[in-house]
Symmetry: C2
Subunit: 184 residues, 2 copies
DNA sequence: GTCTATATAATGATAGAC
DNA sequence: GTCTATCATTATATAGAC
């Protein structure tokens, strides 16, 4: 039952945005009564915290999968530009901006993801290791903006920005497997 | 009177975010009655459209000023990273995501700003003219993310990302005045 | 655990007097 | 133009029966 509410809330967060995640809407999506929601989760903030925890867990799983793919750097770019992931990241950010009670949960998750992506970038791009954190930030911010603007129908400049990323990904170093650059 | 409501609404949008821009809160900030707001603006969407138009106008003015400064490229970066501007850009984006009625106003303004920034980048960076739109997107997206995360207390990677931008701005070409590179 | 009913606050908006 | 009064809707919850 808890899971059904969390599923519904996450779906609405992805499809409609954080502002649409209300008790009645979530309950309707779950096919349950809104009052039941308050039985399983004392407050809406509790529900949102549960949603955020699950989103963060799944993001880490997908990150680990990307790391062991044939082209890890491209896989990480694809993970960040995936429309649903990027829009979810934006919604979480907006949620953190306006709801103090769940801010820590979101910010801590984002910080953790930033740090492990940076560690991975250092290993995958040894010659740019000193700029790894900056490269991760540039890629993450660009990915989110591309997804958000595309959803709004604004695509001016997108092809150009993607071309720069593709150029970066096509470099020899970017296509080196991790075990070749950082053997055990 | 109209201007007082617009002033108040913009201030709340900057300070509290788009979700806080309600009729009662705006009216209180303006020192007027909420019902008067509906006399001057038929709906809240009308008020928001007026706010957006003024924000877009002022953004264009500040852009023109940046162009004639001694270091136009740095001035443009400063304009985009200014905390209030960057957070306002994020709030407008979030607003466009959830309010169909004002989406066009926001998206059209963003598109216009993207295009003129790209034109300026082409002139200021003739050797990278082909990537100007991409460079503008990267700078704009990074600037917004830096401002938003700083507001949330998340600063991991920021110094690193800023170092990459500073390196770019320190290149000889980046410091060439426009009249030297593109004489009349 | 799940139901009906209800409390309380905020929202966008309107009616009609002055 | 500005006021008081009001409405309909939605929000997060809570009380208490079954």
């Amino acid at each position: 039952m808890r899971a059904r509410f969390v599923d519904a809330a996450e779906a609405i967060l992805r499809e409609e945005g954080g502002h649409a995640v209300s008790a009645r809407v979530v309950a309707e999506k779950a096919g349950l009564k809104a009052q039941l929601l308050f039985y399983y989760f004392r407050t809406m903030d509790d529900l949102l915290r549960a949603v955020i925890r699950r989103i963060n867990e799944r993001r880490l799983e997908r990150f680990e999968q990307a790391l062991v793919s044939p082209e890890p750097l491209r896989a990480l770019w694809d993970l960040n530009t995936d429309a649903s992931s990027a829009i979810l990241a934006i919604e979480l950010n907006a949620l953190a901006n306006r709801r103090e009670a769940i801010r820590a949960e979101i910010v801590d998750g984002a910080r953790q993801f930033r740090l492990i992506q940076t560690e991975a970038a250092k290993r995958l791009l040894p010659s740019s290791a000193g700029s790894a954190a900056g490269i991760v930030m540039i890629a993450a911010s660009l990915a989110r903006m591309l997804a958000n603007e595309t959803a709004l129908g604004l695509t001016e400049g997108h092809a150009d920005a993607i071309a720069i990323v593709e150029q970066f990904l096509a470099r020899p170093e970017s296509n080196t497997r991790e075990e070749e650059t950082a053997p055990i």
